[in-house]
């Protein structure tokens, strides 16, 4: 469902895609997993704006794909149009991931905690789950291999952003602080983009910190919607930047003309 952003000439899905896009850079080498409409739109948009050399492997397979439209699956061949390489999971992909030749990946967990760890396995105890979720898939892998991790959620509420995960399917900053470093893992989560705000991670404890508020949202609302204590930055909290007309035009007409991204809402 498309929700207008108060005061901005765009909707929430568009704001999130643009925020994601702007976090990308010209040396981003990304790929995507299942149900990743926001990141997929973000990669495609960044490549059309400030990051022309950005690498995006659609479905982790189709390098430099430029599909006419996005279908109902972000792991589907409908996404592969225009690719200059169809790489192959076992032969190419895993080595590129392990060696951080791909440097960027985005997760969305059914639960996420303050350090950006994610759960997509079970709600409730593992052996007697209240809800059996799909499973972590590549989260446990890519969380350890890829240095630039991005998180997103279109359901910013206390059920999603929890103090304690029921199961840690994928590692973000782990227990926080230097935990990743102690495990020998590169980088870590950079941002978490939600339907209320953008979080970054404060550099010492590696907990989510409010980086910008979407128009009409207050810091108090974010805290109320979050199951853990949100780190507040020094000074005023900026508003999430407004998409430019050109960004919106590209998103609406070229990147995702069928609004596949609304499947996340």
């Amino acid at each position: 469902m498309s929700t207008p952003v108060p005061g901005y000439d765009c909707t929430m899905d568009e704001l999130m895609v643009v925020a994601f896009s702007r976090a990308m850079s010209n040396d981003t080498r990304a790929f995507n997993g299942a149900v990743s409409f926001i990141p997929v739109c973000g990669y495609m948009l960044a490549r059309r704006t400030h990051a022309p050399d950005l690498v995006w492997a659609a479905s982790s397979i189709a390098v430099d794909a430029d599909p006419d439209e996005i279908g109902d699956s972000t792991l589907s061949d409908s996404l592969w149009g225009g690719a200059s390489m169809l790489s192959n999971s076992p032969f190419d992909f895993w080595t590129y991931a392990q060696g951080a030749r791909y440097n960027t990946f985005a997760f969305r967990g059914a639960q996420m905690d303050a350090c950006g760890n994610v759960n997509n396995t079970v709600i409730g105890p593992y052996d007697a789950p209240k809800v059996r979720l799909p499973g972590g898939g590549g989260m446990a892998d890519l969380g350890t291999m890829i240095p630039r991790i991005y998180l997103w959620s279109s359901t910013h509420d206390p059920r999603t952003f929890v103090e304690r995960l029921d199961f840690r399917s994928g590692i973000g900053w782990g227990d926080g602080g230097d935990h990743r470093e102690r495990l020998g893992l590169p980088g870590g989560p950079q941002l978490c983009i939600t339907n209320l705000c953008v979080f970054d991670f404060e550099p010492v404890g590696k907990r989510m910190r409010l980086a910008s508020l979407h128009p009409g949202v207050t810091a108090e609302q974010v805290q109320q919607a979050t199951g853990f204590e949100v780190v507040m930055p020094e000074g005023a909290i900026p508003a999430t930047a407004e998409p430019t007309a050109e960004e919106l035009r590209l998103l609406r007409t070229e990147v995702d003309p069928t609004s596949a991204r609304l499947r996340e809402f």
């Binding site: 109902d72 972000t74 409908s78 059996r132 799909p134 446990a140 892998d141 350890t144 495990l183």
Partner: protein
């Protein structure tokens, strides 16, 4: 001695209690015709190895064929959770051995490469490793000289791998067009036997004419079962895409026990032959949608 057989005979060779690895990835290239036949033959107590799966696992769980699932992910992606898998696990009827994609791949590689383990960094710092402490299937280790941490993934023996390919000849040479094998070669390499369903049987000359396109040599494939649209309702790139309508209707039906029983009978296990099944689902139309 042609390796070409029927879906029925190929499935009949899978014994109850076997460890069966299912090819494909999510909604792509799953060996659905073979899976349907396993359900029709009422297999029992199977252990499934499914790196990233969905409908295939759900059919087998719905058919009460499954005791245990080793998987990275089972879902219908944006089209929802896999309803029977979810219910089966929540009720305790089906056990899940939770891995991640790369942990499973590494266990399969240890098996196929005849090594005590394959190392990876996958899983470090997650709760996945703790699930396997008792069995030792994967374990966290520290490399003594460097102090570096890694995860040792032990061998995973597989009785039968089921994969879908585009073409095979009578000798068992098989190929996937254009060259995408998802992670199927990992399960084929680890399995004692491999059965391939294929869109069509081709002459050996088709393989010798373009030998660089052969995906599996004949000594890796034990049986070839012709099944046009054999991955339906999943995709077989580049021939056909997944049929979203089937996934949606299936999920819809699964909200009610009686409705699902009827759906499963009429549109999955009831049709006598694979062709009947395709007709019952208007597959020729849906798959190209």
């Amino acid at each position: 001695m042609s390796k070409v057989t029927t879906l029925e005979q190929a499935a009949a060779q899978v014994p109850d209690g076997a460890t069966v690895a299912i090819g494909g990835l999510s909604m792509n290239s799953a060996p659905m015709a073979l899976v349907r036949e396993l359900v029709r033959q009422e297999k029992k107590d199977l252990t499934l190895v499914a790196i990233v799966a969905g409908m295939a696992v759900d059919w087998l769980v719905a058919g009460r064929c499954v005791r245990r699932v080793l998987s990275g992910l089972v879902s219908f992606e944006g089209l929802g959770l896999a309803p029977n898998f979810r219910a089966g696990v929540q009720s305790g009827r089906v056990a899940v051995e939770e891995y991640s994609e790369h942990l499973l791949i590494c266990r399969l590689q240890a098996q196929s490469s005849n090594l005590p383990f394959m190392p990876t960094k996958a899983g470090l710092g997650t709760d996945v490793l703790g699930l396997h402490t008792a069995s030792g299937a994967v374990r966290e280790e520290r490399d003594a000289p460097s102090g570096e941490r890694y995860v040792a993934c032990t061998r995973l023996p597989v009785d039968v791998a089921l994969v879908h390919a585009h073409e095979a000849d009578e000798r068992g040479n098989a190929r996937v067009n254009p060259k995408l094998v998802w992670m199927d070669n990992e399960i084929v390499n680890a399995a004692a036997r491999t059965v391939a369903s294929v869109e069509r049987v081709a002459a050996t000359e088709a393989f010798t004419a373009e030998p660089e396109r052969t995906t599996y040599p004949r000594f890796m494939i034990d049986a070839v079962a012709p099944a046009p649209l054999g991955a339906y309702p999943c995709s077989s790139f580049p021939d056909y895409s997944h049929d979203s309508e089937f996934f949606t209707a299936y999920s819809q039906a699964a909200r009610d026990r009686g409705e699902f029983t009827q759906f499963f009978r009429e549109r999955v296990v009831g049709p006598e032959t694979w062709e009947d099944f395709l007709d019952a689902n208007n597959a020729a139309t849906g798959a190209s949608a």
